[in-house]
Structure formats: C-alpha cells, structure tokens
C-alpha cells in the first residue's frame, strides 16, 4: 500500500489530512459515538503521524476526557482523541475507506437492536422516475484524492 493513499478529509474539502500509517480499525457502539456520528456506531481507525494538509478540524469537547473534531464548513465528523492518546480518524473520511476494514466492535453493550440485520436489508432499486434526478446531480464533494490550492501545506 502506498503511503500516498492514506489521505482524507471532509465532504467540502476545507479540511484535509494525511497519515503515515493506520492502526487498529474499529466500530464503537457507545451512545456518544452514535450521537456524534448521527449514526448506529462510530467507525474509527488510529492514525499514526497525522498531518493536516489543508485547514484544521473544529473541536468539540464531548466529555472531560476527549475531543471530537469535525469540519466547521460542512460538518463531516473527522476525529476522536482521548486525552493523552493517539488520534483516531473517522473511517468514512478516508479517501479510501476500504483500507480500514474494522476488525473489532467496541462497547457491544450499546449495540442497537437492529444492528445484526443491517447487512440484510432489502435493496432499493433505482426507479426510472428517479433517473432524471441522479442524471442531473452535480456533486460539490471534494474528490477522493489530494488537490492543490494556494496556501496548502505540503
């Protein structure tokens, strides 16, 4: 795996990062991760040697022991860091989230009752009436690779 692939950032591209390497990928079921991510669980991977190549996350102190970072412009959850511990990165914010397949589920006591069925939901087929909507979408999402802009750090 090339180190150059360990990049990522928020949806709008105002905040971008690069990691030297990744540690253990996990999902966390705790209610604080659920709420911070607006989702069923928080997906986090330890980021070793993380540098911010554009912008910086805004920090919210979610408890007396940890900060959570997000993009102030578009809201993408980006980081979790317990005091005195290494930075954890939101897996979905990686340009290649498939490089961080979670291997462990933390805090299973808070697992949502429908968690086990998530992989087996019926699939929504794209309907003909929705095709014009999809065809017309112009995405404003930052691409899944680094881009250059004046003022970026190397």
């Amino acid at each position: 795996m090339s180190q150059n692939e360990l990049t990522g950032g928020c949806q709008c591209g105002a905040v971008r990062f690069r990691a030297e390497s990744l540690g253990r990928p996990s999902i966390c079921h705790c209610r604080m991760c659920q709420k911070a991510f607006g989702s069923f669980f928080g997906p986090l991977v330890t980021g070793h040697g993380v540098v911010w190549t554009r912008g910086q996350p805004k920090l919210f102190r979610s408890s007396n022991l940890a900060n959570r970072g997000f993009c102030a412009d578009c809201g993408t959850p980006l980081t979790y860091q317990a005091d005195g511990h290494e930075l954890e990165l939101a897996i979905g914010a990686l340009d290649h989230p498939e490089l961080a397949a979670p291997t462990i589920q933390v805090n299973p006591a808070d697992r949502l009752p429908y968690f086990e069925g998530l992989a087996n939901l019926p699939m929504q087929q794209r309907s003909a009436e929705r095709e014009p909507f999809y065809a017309a979408v112009v995405s404003y999402q930052h691409p899944d690779h680094d881009t250059t802009r004046s003022g970026d750090s190397a």
């Binding site: 989702s39 069923f40 919210f60 979610s62 578009c74 809201g75 992989a119 404003y140």
Partner: protein
C-alpha cells in the same frame, strides 16, 4: 394520536421534534453519504409531518446542486438531508429513542464498504476491560445532551 419523535445533536445546541409515523427509514452507502457522515454509510428517517426545530437550527452545506445537508456547527453532528426546499430527512443516530427508528431498506448497495457484509462478525470488546479504561470510565463526565428534551440547556465542551 400518532407518536412524536425528538432528537438533536451531541452538544444540544440543535434540537428537533417530528410527529410520526416514520415514512421511510434507510441506510445509504453512496460515497457522498459515507463522506458526509465520516462513516461506512448514512442512516436517514423521513416523515410526512414537518420537522420542527425546537432549539437552534442546523447549518446547511450544499453537497450538490440538488441537495443540502444540515449539521450542528458547534459539535458537528450530521443531522439532515434535504432535496430542494422539501421536508428534511433526519439522521437516525440523532434521535433520542434511536432504538425505535428501524431501517428497512438499503440504497447504493454497489458502493457498500466491504466490512458491512460482516459487521456482526466483528470481535466484540467490552469497554472497561483494562485498568486504564476502568479508571477513565470512573471519572468520565459526558457533555452530551441527554436523550430527551430539556427546558434549559447550555451546550458545554
């Protein structure tokens, strides 16, 4: 009478309420939902009743020409997905009674993160299994808004 559902962001600066029933609850694997949520997929619930903002408002980011996504600009919680000026769909994890909003359909399966096929097979690890974690939990004070409406609330953190 139908049931109403409340929720909001982690810090409590933005709170909502909406009358049930849930019209549609889904997960979406598309790359835009993944990145907006920093997650493996995004979970949304939509309602026919209008969403009422009972405290604050989400900040909107236009993620495409057709869609705006709302989040709390104080703590970052992703909250909404809205086509045009339509009634927004709400992030399921933001609901106070998250157990009661059960997703029934999956969008963009072709873009599933590979681990989604095996989520339930991941090795469980209880929090508090080491002395360090137990010591942390003993002094932990959450600044998260409680999972119910509050009359007075000062976002912390």
């Amino acid at each position: 009478m139908s049931e109403s559902f409340s929720g909001g962001c982690q810090c409590g600066a933005v709170r909502f309420r909406v009358e049930g029933p849930v019209n549609h609850a889904s997960i979406c694997n598309c790359r835009m939902c993944q990145k907006a949520f920093g997650n493996l997929m995004a979970p949304f619930a939509s309602f026919k009743a209008p969403v009422e903002w009972t405290r604050g408002r989400p900040t909107l980011f236009r993620s495409s020409q057709a869609v705006q996504r709302g989040f709390c600009n104080k703590c970052g919680t992703p909250l909404t997905y809205q086509v045009g000026e339509g009634n927004p769909a709400l992030a399921i994890g933001a609901f106070d009674r998250v157990n009661d909003i059960v997703p029934t359909i999956e969008f963009a399966r072709e873009n599933r993160h590979p681990v989604l096929d095996n989520l339930d097979g991941l090795i469980p690890e209880d929090l508090g299994s080491t002395d360090e974690e137990r010591n942390m939990l003993a002094i932990l004070r959450s600044f998260q808004h409680p999972d119910r409406d509050t009359d007075n609330w000062q976002p912390q953190g």
